[in-house]
Chain length 441, copies 2
């Protein structure tokens, strides 16, 4: 299915800050790129973009779509000043089958588009609506209000509707019938998309799809842009995040991610950066001097925090790759090992007992076994979360935090013993849980 | 689809040794159990078994099928002495739809049954035939010969056919039309299945399915039983076996497996046995005395060999489980770690240099990284093999063999250095290969 994106307008309220509006930067991507990449996640690779205001800038930036792995066709609407209905209407010759209609300034959870897969517009149109009309993400002055009956079919819509029970999200699933409706509406002098949609509603041909609870936002001004950024960042936590990650690391890594986004760094570069920090921490530990141990502890925790940023940027900018994930996991294991080697040497220098090395080897073993069993165990954690059961995950975030705390109080031997015991106990615990899970399959 | 298994005959040539024939033991399972479990692997869970000779023994042994995770219905054929056609005919009231017809004394590769999924017998029957009429697995005196045209439709079949171009494998895919054919054939005094099949062939209703190259064997006498055992054992190698595994370990583990099968040990018990051997080896190394190191080396290699047996028995007896695989992998990692800890301590006792411990930690790291990257890398090895490309896998078999050799010549320090270098080089090599593979996806 093709997606038609309207990117012709001026965006008067953002204009003093960013122009053209579809290229407004947000966490390393423009608004329009966010829309394209989210639609691509839902399986759409064929786009028609209607441009108008500063068309050449947009076309120059996006090109034929190759760099996003999609195909982009452009339609120029010289009437863009008249209204967004005229822009949709301008694409009528490019689209002869049902299509997805998106706004370049409306961001959304890609799961909404996946939900649309079970609908097919046959001589009618669907509009995604949000029943949470008081939502934080909605600007009540500017939103297009929707009045719908229980079917749910839309009865009327508009910015000035006095009675309404939902909000227009700007996501349409259309049959080409929308073009006939727009033609009539334009002939009557109404150049807005809402005008065409209202005509369909009057004929009972505008159905509603309820997407309440999913993330979406109309980015019309600087306040909305700030809200959008906050919502995107809030969605970055991973289901398998451990407690230190959730309570401490993510809060800091999100700030760093915002900052790294501006630099347009590739996620794999950040993976390597986190690895270098860990190697530096390991070297500082290895030397075994008190002040270096403190610095090593801080670097360890910093590496742990930055380790979250690569995934955050990959998810934000749709740059997740199989190799990126493998590189991250592999370098994390090497980083863990180097830190434990440095740690063990520091404790050996302090205590001079060869058994320290055996404990170091056991700590390395346990640390690895945690990562090794995680490949199976995380599936159970995810399953529990879909059932809304709480789960505590003992993982890398906690291991590195223990080392950080021990370095702060210059008690690395304590960290070594705790790690040697706790990681192996945890691995055996996981094996027991997995044995029960797998037997019940 | 139901499977009808004929298990009513006497098996005169095996009778002096094993009786009843369907319960003849072979690598820990009876012949009949092999047939049922192989059919189950191909997705069949509904069985009708025709019994006759020593019926009660067979029914007592197999029961209603619960312990195999299938449903078994029995039909008693009082005419079993007359011929196997009478036994098939006895099941006519139990089967009203197309069904699979199997002999309790014919073993086969379950892939043959998967191949049958693309055929559907509509008013006709299919017989699986083998064009390799000179095959080692075929007893030319006893085999049912088949003459077929190029369609391929079977023209005639029988034990005494003078001109033939294929052999009957005893695997039929039948429509209930076989019962009418048997009725006619029995009325003429021919009680064999071949008699009924010949009638179908005369009407052009017996089609051939070519399964040449797949494993199958008719177990009619002690020689065939020995051949069947050899063929089953030869199929146990894993595609990801390394060179030491292929050239040395598998050759020995197959013997041990044959022997362990008689004890009816569960694969997980053998996993734990191999782990205990490795822990014992580790303890012997740890003590660091010359003669103990030699014993430790031998135990290490023995643990490596026995580590193959759990999988062999699981594959032979269809006891593969997700938990079994996880237990095997996890205990292997613990065993590897313990052996390296013991090894490192022995080298430290000999050299007295603390850097030995750092090398030990690096060897443990590399050893783990091999196992960790294997989860991705093995997919590439398997892919290469389907393309008939050779591949060399540096894995646990080689690591433990290096330790074994070093222990033989009392040079554990050499093993430690080699492992520290080679395992980490291999992990990085894999990461580079995976980066290319994943980028080309």
């Amino acid at each position: 299915m093709k997606a038609l994106i309207i990117a012709a307008g001026e965006g008067s309220r953002l204009k003093p800050f960013y122009s053209p509006k579809p290229l407004t930067p947000l966490l390393g991507l423009s608004l329009l790129e966010h829309v394209i990449l989210r639609a691509k996640e839902a399986g759409i690779t064929d786009f028609v973009i209607v441009v108008g205001h500063q068309a050449e800038k947009i076309i120059k930036k996006l090109g034929p779509g190759e760099k996003y792995g999609v195909k982009i066709d452009y339609v120029y609407n010289s009437d863009w000043k008249k209204g967004n209905g005229a822009s949709v209407y301008a694409a009528r010759d490019k689209i002869k089958e049902p299509f997805l209609l998106l706004m370049s300034d409306h961001l959304f959870d890609e799961k909404i588009l996946q939900k649309l897969n079970s609908f097919y517009p046959n001589g009618q149109c669907y509009l995604c609506i949000d029943r949470n009309i008081q939502g934080q993400h909605i600007n009540p002055e500017d939103a297009t209000k929707v009045s719908l009956n229980h079917e749910p079919t839309i009865i009327d819509l508009g910015k000035n509707l006095s009675e309404y029970n939902a909000i227009d999200t700007g996501i349409f699933l259309c049959s080409p019938i929308i073009f006939s409706a727009l033609k009539k509406s334009i002939a009557r002098g109404d150049y807005t998309l809402t005008g065409g949609a209202r005509l369909l509603a009057q004929q009972g041909k505008l159905k509603a799809i309820d997407i309440t609870g999913h993330f979406w936002i109309d980015v019309d001004d600087v306040t909305a842009l700030r809200k959008a950024k906050k919502m995107l960042l809030a969605n970055l936590d991973k289901a398998t995040d451990g407690p230190i990650s959730r309570l401490i690391n993510r809060k800091i890594s999100r700030f760093i991610t915002t900052w790294l986004c501006k630099w347009r760094l590739h996620p794999n570069t950040i993976t390597i950066l986190s690895f270098i920090l860990a190697v530096a921490a390991s070297a500082l530990f290895f030397l075994g001097k008190k002040e270096l141990i403190l610095a090593g502890g801080i670097l360890t925790q910093l590496a742990s925090i930055i380790d979250g940023c690569d995934g955050e940027i990959a998810r934000l900018q749709f740059k997740k790759t199989k190799f990126g994930e493998l590189l991250d996991r592999t370098l994390d294991r090497y980083a863990d090992a180097f830190i434990i080697i440095g740690l063990t040497h520091a404790v050996f220098l302090a205590l001079g007992n060869e058994w320290v090395w055996v404990i170091g080897l056991i700590a390395l073993l346990g640390s690895f076994m945690n990562s090794y069993t995680a490949l199976h165990y995380d599936k159970i954690i995810l399953l529990r979360q879909t059932k809304n059961q709480t789960s505590f995950r003992f993982g890398r975030d906690i291991r590195l935090f223990i080392i950080f705390l021990a370095a702060l109080i210059n008690q690395l031997s304590l960290a070594l013993i705790i790690l040697a015991v706790i990681t192996n106990v945890e691995s055996i615990r996981r094996l027991v849980i997995l044995s029960h899970e797998y037997q019940s399959v």
